[in-house]
Amino acid sequence: MSELLKRFKGITEDPGLSFTQKARYLSLEAENSLPYPELDEETAKALEERVICDMYEGHVPFKPRYVMPDYSVVLEKGSAFLELEPATTLDEAINSLMIAYHHVPSVTNMPVFIGRLDNLLLPYCDEVSDEDLYKKLKLFWRYLDRVLPDAFMHANVGPTDNRVARTIMRIDAELKQIAPNLTFIWDPDVSSDAIFSQACESIIECSKPHIANNPLHQPLFDDYGYGVASCYNVLPLCGGASTLTRINLREVARRSKDTADFFENVLPKYIDLNFRLTEARIDHLFNKSGFFESFLVKEDWISRDRFTAMYGIFAMAQCVDELQAKEGRAGKYGHDETANQLGHRISKVLYEVVEMRPMENCWRGKAMLHSQAGLSDDDGCTPGVRIPYGSEPDPVTHVQALAEHHAFYPSGVSEILTLDETIENNPAALEQLVKGAFQLGFREFSANVSNNDLVRITGYMVRLSDIAKFKECGGSRINTTVLGAEAAETGKILERAPRVMSHELAPRYSQ
């Protein structure tokens, strides 16, 4: 039997995987047995050495990484392809969404974005009592977790204070499910204090929702707006992101003689190579895959010209520490002013280059910089610009150290603050922390409360009790548990004071 066939066989016989998980890994292995889009030698070498990385999205990009449909289309107009009439009641609207989700691809084959649900459902709620709304949404929530068990699946509510947003946050805190992940979009001019407080109380309950700072995001997008998907990716609605590639900044620093060499030679080189990788993948998606012939485009759920490319970076902490050592300085990232400023300077350079470089087949003709939250096997590298697990300073110092980065990451920067459970008796402290963070320029805010079973690993949620069970007897219904178990062991993630999780993190079968 060839190596490949042995691998297939291994997957089919792995007792730790459910049959859907087996099917998924088999399809990934099949895709990855095909040749990669053509890369020049230098790019291929950098990819091979994993200085740049394609997130193991697969060798043959036949679907965008993140699809952010405008689901209002299917609700208001129905779908000829899916033979759906326009929705007229809340039941029909929820039912249409449940159907729609199954036709929205993503890197994981599960939808990573299920809509700004309050905007979508409110028009159907006028005749619905509070009690019925609660019952219907609760069933909907249970369906999402059981049928689409991917912690990267992401719902959005806010910024207005409305019945649907309030009810969803209430149900989410009650059920404490991994899926869906949830973002509350906050806008101090629009959101009421009451709904903001509810969001904070819910974080204390279950480490969800994630809070997005609307005044910082909205101006970057057009009237069509944006959504937050997966692990805190802020992307144009009615489009999404074709691909996410990323630079391992630690590896770039290791290949540099000193800080000057890093900025003048090595970083520019790998920035360019990562662009080439991105372009090759986008070219395949747009010009060879036929994806944009899909009914999703024909029926206007998505638009071909609204897909951006996410240009990711990670291991900022290790990169800065490496450069500090090369300069003979002891100060560590996250704790030392000089180290922190070096980090800010790197982010600024990255931002400027990404903004300048024209990109074909990209929304607005350029990529968007992203502080990438990590795969489950990142080998000692810290997600994005985060401070390493277990060494985070107090939450205020933490925010102060990182705030300056946020301006440079328009497609999202996921940071997780670990709070100890004493916060339970004092939600006002959490509210003030979020407000302070947003005032300092945080684009988004996520927290883990340390006694919550439900925690964020790198951007997706896992249940600690599931990981324990998974290790004991193998097998989990939820895709991210596998990812989380791997992340917890290799990434020292559970050493983190407290944290959050998301779902694209298991892109390969890793036995």
Partner: protein, 288 residues
Amino acid sequence: MNLPLATVSKVLKFSCVDGPGNRLVLFLQGCNFACPTCHNPHTMKLCNDCGDCVPECPTGSLTIVQGKVVHDASICDQCDKCLDVCPINANPKVTQYSVDDVLALLYQNKPFLNGITISGGEATTQLKFIIALFTAIKTDEKLKDLTCFIDSNGYLPEAAWKTVLPVTDGVMLDIKAFNNTLHHLLTTRSNQRVLATAKLLFEAGKLHELRYLLIPGRTDSDEEIEDLANFVRALDTDTPLRLNAFQHHGVKGEALTWPTMKEPDVERIAAELRSAGLTNVVVPAVYI
């Protein structure tokens, strides 16, 4: 003008257990009680420059300059060996803060703060500083919405409280015991002033929270709990009462042989207090 300085053992920029919302907390050095159960015993006394800790420091952070022990924070690795060897429960790592120093800290962290809390040691042993600081905050356009709290053991006499209360928004007050002999054993002082403080603060509308430390076999007896219930009821049944559970974390000396307070017992006592009519009893979020 001779502005007061504070001797500070620690500053926290984030605390959700020292009053409403997030608070900047200043821990002042020095206490007028000597509780064996203290979980920060090194905050009790002011350093007398005996120098015993200097040779123990592995990083060379401590030196003697003109008869004074000086600490270099830039090379200290916070191993706390100096605290372990100090014969009098003092701390060589304290910093002197002026009112302006603290105002600068508040400016820097203002977006994150609901207020400031002065804790200890015993905060009120440095009363002049507190009055000067709180007065400055209350008259500063950018800071005056911060609330000013004190965490106290209540030993400050009534007349002195009256000088600080006009600029204070609230006080968290510890009551260690109701039986005066027991109080003596636990603190080396009488509880008369503490109980008078509680009443005074309540009447002034500044009693933010009462705290009571449950120590098995000492302060968890039926009589103590009954006195506690009666005392709180005489103020207002809705007075916030936080039950703390004695744990060994940080404790030095004899009290390490005392048993720790377990969650089920705390819950039982909380239930008793609630059925005695108290409506605002808070139990610990964690037991460490």
